[in-house]
């Protein structure tokens, strides 16, 4: 059984989707929200497995709402017709449904989700869930017109840029509105290591380790980025790696 939340500013649209979802007993609609702020609340309180999200809503758009989430749930976007959003969906291969929703398309989207879920299961089980973000968790990031759901396991490096953090994954490095300290608190320390004041590295993405000045270390990541480990942290790093 999967918990779902529907976020749409139109009551009738929510009702219609609920009615369609009756056909899928494995999905249980545990909550609905009429705008982004209500949506955030519902997601935090109910921690759903799946969110049906409208893009055009009063106040904040669906995209804006996702950017505020620390950990993005699985999202299926719903929209009537929005050229801008459609472009974003197609470019970024996000799951979306066009209103009025075709039952067949809904079934396909849910099945796709099922498959992704199974793949993740192993990873989620490995990290015992203590409110920590695991490698299988995803964040929503947006860079101009482009947006992604990024699995934390795919992130090589977080770099502090003022109040923002630059997220390095694949060939992209968009910014997210989160401080490095806040990230460090929530990230699994077995995987993500605070190398210095400005960087958090993914330990699984290290290519090379070299000694550096002053008893520090220099890490080279798979993407070619070089990160210095301060002397104090180098001690901790060596401890961790020798375990």
């Amino acid at each position: 059984m999967q918990k779902a939340v529907i976020i749409d500013d139109e009551r009738l649209a929510r009702n219609e989707l609920k009615k369609l979802l009756l056909e899928f007993p494995e999905i249980e609609v545990v909550g609905e929200a009429a705008n982004a702020n209500e949506g955030l609340e519902k997601i935090e309180n109910l921690s759903p497995d799946l969110v049906f999200l409208d893009i055009q809503m009063p106040g904040k758009t669906g995209f804006d709402m996702l950017l505020q989430l620390e950990k993005a749930p699985h999202v299926i976007f719903t929209t009537a017709y929005d050229e801008y959003a459609l472009k974003a969906f197609e470019v970024n291969a996000l799951d979306y449904l066009m209103k009025p929703v075709e039952p067949k398309r809904l079934a396909d989207a849910l099945q796709k989700l099922q498959q992704a879920e199974e793949k993740e299961l192993a990873a989620t089980m490995a990290g015992i869930n203590r409110g920590m973000l695991t490698e299988a968790d995803q964040v929503f990031v947006k860079d101009g017109e482009r947006c992604w759901f990024v699995k934390l396991g795919e992130v090589r490096l977080f770099e502090s840029v003022g109040n923002y953090a630059k997220v390095f994954f694949g060939s992209n490095k968009p910014l997210i509105l989160k401080s490095l300290n806040a990230l460090e608190e929530r990230l699994d320390e077995k995987v993500f290591f605070r190398a210095n004041r400005k960087h958090i590295v993914n330990l699984r993405m290290i290519e090379k380790i070299e000694p550096y000045f002053n008893g520090g270390l220099l890490l080279e990541l798979h993407g070619g980025e070089k990160v210095e480990v301060s002397r104090r942290q180098a001690v901790k790093f060596k401890e961790m790696m020798s375990l």
């Binding site: 500013d9 009738l12 009702n15 009537a80 017709y81 009025p100």
Partner: protein, 407 residues
């Protein structure tokens, strides 16, 4: 110097240059023996140069006058008159001006030729043995042979002695020269005018094509902006939800949506519709939006009964109302009011659409339909209708259309 100016000077120099070359060719090659005399060639070239420069100066003066008084705006008949006057004046200016310059320099080729001819006349006279006889005074020699020789000399060289025995030059060249100059200027003028007429025609055609394409684009834009697909699909989605919840409402909603679709298709065919008809569509539209937004959308109408028969552009009020919802109500979590007012203000019909919300800076996007509404009004009422959109005090936005009362 502009592009046209550069082109003009290139044409000037090229045209006169070609003329000069042809002149040189005929004089140097065909009449080679004329230049056998010492210094003849230089004298000729310099005098030709003076003539060419005078030609350029004179035609440039003509062109300045043509441009300043903009001859191209005249009809073809007038142009012909101006053509003759222009050629006459410029031709004479060129001839007398050019000659005046030449005669005041030591380089006059005419003077040089005259001198040569005088020498030839004297030689011919001597050859005939007449130079020793004072044939010109009391004409003691009256035999036909001598008379023929004298007239031959005059015919060949243009020189003859008067009754005092002074050599006189009978100048027939003047008239010929004027004639040639006139012809030259006429040719110049013809090229100039023909070029500009062709150019102007082509530009006119280009302008017309451009205008046509903007009109087409405008039409397309207005038709497109009539109904927003987002609205259609959202309405259909709501209707589908209503089929179970409130079948009666679903039925009327389908009728309302059909009305809107139908009138948007008809809008391109008719120039104007009565305000009554337009308001019917707006009401259907608002009923559908109310179905979507429910308590978030409140509608107020304040319509003067007498305005209902007024003619308005189809789907224009509808576009404004749609915008007030798209950019106003739908952005507000708690929704707001849309207020429609129609009233007479002096000689004008005034349509107001007010909605809760505030204009933000980036309202120049085409999504607002501001430009297309403005363009439509300009096209239909030639500047007698006005459209504006502004923030009212508090948190209201007002779109206002003022158009002349139709009788």
């Amino acid at each position: 110097m502009g592009k046209t100016s550069v082109r003009y000077w290139i044409c000037q120099v090229l045209g006169w240059g070609v003329f000069g070359l042809i002149h040189i060719y005929f004089n140097l090659v065909v009449f080679a023996e004329m230049f056998s005399q010492h210094g003849g060639q230089n004298q000729y070239l310099i005098s030709l140069g003076i003539f060419l420069i005078s030609g350029i100066v004179c035609t440039h003066i003509l062109r300045t006058i043509i441009k300043k008084t903009n001859w191209l705006r005249f009809s073809l008949n007038k142009i012909w008159g101006l053509f003759i006057i222009g050629i006459g004046a410029t031709g004479l200016l060129l001839f007398y001006g050019g000659n005046a310059i030449e005669h005041n320099t030591p380089y006059s080729f005419d003077d040089f030729i005259q001198k040569n001819k005088l020498e030839r006349a004297k030689k011919l006279e001597a050859n005939a043995g007449l130079d020793t006889i004072r044939y010109y005074s009391t004409a003691p020699v009256k035999d036909s042979l001598s008379l023929k020789t004298i007239s031959d000399i005059k015919k060949n060289t243009g020189w003859h002695r008067n009754s005092q025995g002074v050599w006189k030059f009978d100048d027939k060249g003047d008239l010929l020269g004027i004639y040639q100059n006139l012809l030259l200027i006429a040719l110049w003028f013809l090229i100039y005018i023909v070029y500009h007429y062709v150019d102007k025609n082509r530009n006119d055609q280009l302008d017309r094509l451009k205008l046509e394409s903007t009109v087409k684009e405008l039409e397309l834009k207005t038709i497109k902006s009539h109904i927003n697909p987002h609205f259609i699909f959202n309405s259909l989605n709501s209707i589908r939800a209503l089929v179970d919840e409130n079948p009666e409402r679903a039925r009327t909603a389908i009728t309302e949506l059909s009305n809107i679709l139908r009138s948007s298709m008809k809008a391109e065919k008719s120039e104007t519709v009565s305000l009554q008809k337009e308001l019917d569509i707006v009401k259907d539209y608002l009923a559908l939006e109310h179905m979507r937004f429910e308590e978030r959308l409140n509608v107020e109408m304040d319509i003067d009964e007498d305005t209902l028969s007024q003619q308005v552009p189809p789907m224009m009020l509808q576009t404004l109302v749609e915008n007030s919802i798209k950019h106003g109500i739908s952005k507000l979590v708690n929704g707001g009011v849309v207020r429609i007012v129609a009233d007479f203000k002096g000689d004008n019909l005034e349509l107001l659409v007010q909605n809760t919300g505030q204009l933000n800076g980036n309202m120049n996007g085409d999504g607002f339909g501001i430009k297309s509404t403005q363009d439509r009004l300009n096209l239909m009422y030639q500047g007698k209708a006005h459209f504006e959109i502004k923030n009212l005090n508090g948190n209201m936005v007002e779109s206002k259309v003022t158009m002349p009362v139709s009788i």
